[in-house]
Symmetry: C2
Subunit: 162 residues, 2 copies
Amino acid sequence: MPAEDPGTKADGKPAARDLDRGLLPSLMGYALRRTQSAVFADFAATFAAAGEALTPGEFGLLVLVDRNAGLSQMALARALGIDRSTLVPILDRLQGRGLLVRRRSPTDGRTHALALTPVGAKALARFAKLVRAHEARIASALSTAETRTLIELLEKVRASSL
Amino acid sequence: MPAEDPGTKADGKPAARDLDRGLLPSLMGYALRRTQSAVFADFAATFAAAGEALTPGEFGLLVLVDRNAGLSQMALARALGIDRSTLVPILDRLQGRGLLVRRRSPTDGRTHALALTPVGAKALARFAKLVRAHEARIASALSTAETRTLIELLEKVRASSL
DNA sequence: TATTGTTATACTCTATAACTATA
DNA sequence: TATAGTTATAGAGTATAACAATA
């Protein structure tokens, strides 16, 4: 994902003055989108620099499967807030990379019991280290208290928007 | 986009206990993504309820064009942080809806001067009202001071992630 | 040569609808 | 009947590469 324009460029030209953003800077939704985009970019850069490839969504999925081994695709889709059909190609890819497996549930023939492979578990440990480094970087401009406050306020907004 | 699972459901069943999310709740990136998703859903619902169709990105684009009439597609793409080729189909759609026009720049034959149509300007006024209602709703769980703090912290994070 | 806008192409995320196997 | 997973399909957002027009 793209970084935002850094404003005035350092070349010789008239340097295309910053655009007028009107009311946008006062909108929480706008701040949320722009910050999310920058954070996503840092996440991608962190993983690319380490020679790994993973999206934030894939990381969240792997953590969920790791901590809830045996869960069904429906349960996972619900936890992720996506449709069950959306989940299929995502699992295909992760399974294709050897990170997780779909096993037949012994108790309900309709469902798959999801689990990380040993390779997936090892990879997740590496990924978690990278995520911690990424988190430290994006929070580097905030104090510990500010970081905690930010997460709390975000959660408050999310919880009230159900 | 989809609302997250509301946790324990209100039906009669065993009610599939909440999943273990491991370290995810302590991650700023995770909170950001989930909150953004909920806020996006509220934005969409607000517009749908009013019989309008617009995404947050389209709203931001229209505001930028409104406040910077005559700007080029390159300048707009840079301001939005997207590739110029990505912008083309987005402008096609908005132009197809009669909200904006591409005019030939008189000074530089390579560029298009973008501007809202009268219809687009009127629509933007309606949209802005809806956005204000949406913003009030998503901030309803926060005090005025908290809302200001949230936006400030988000901006701090974004500005440091350039 | 360099820049702007466009097209062609390719992924990914997202959804709805319909199919299948199972319950 | 109802549920789980899959497939088919479609739309939006994102990108890179190549091309035409213009500078």
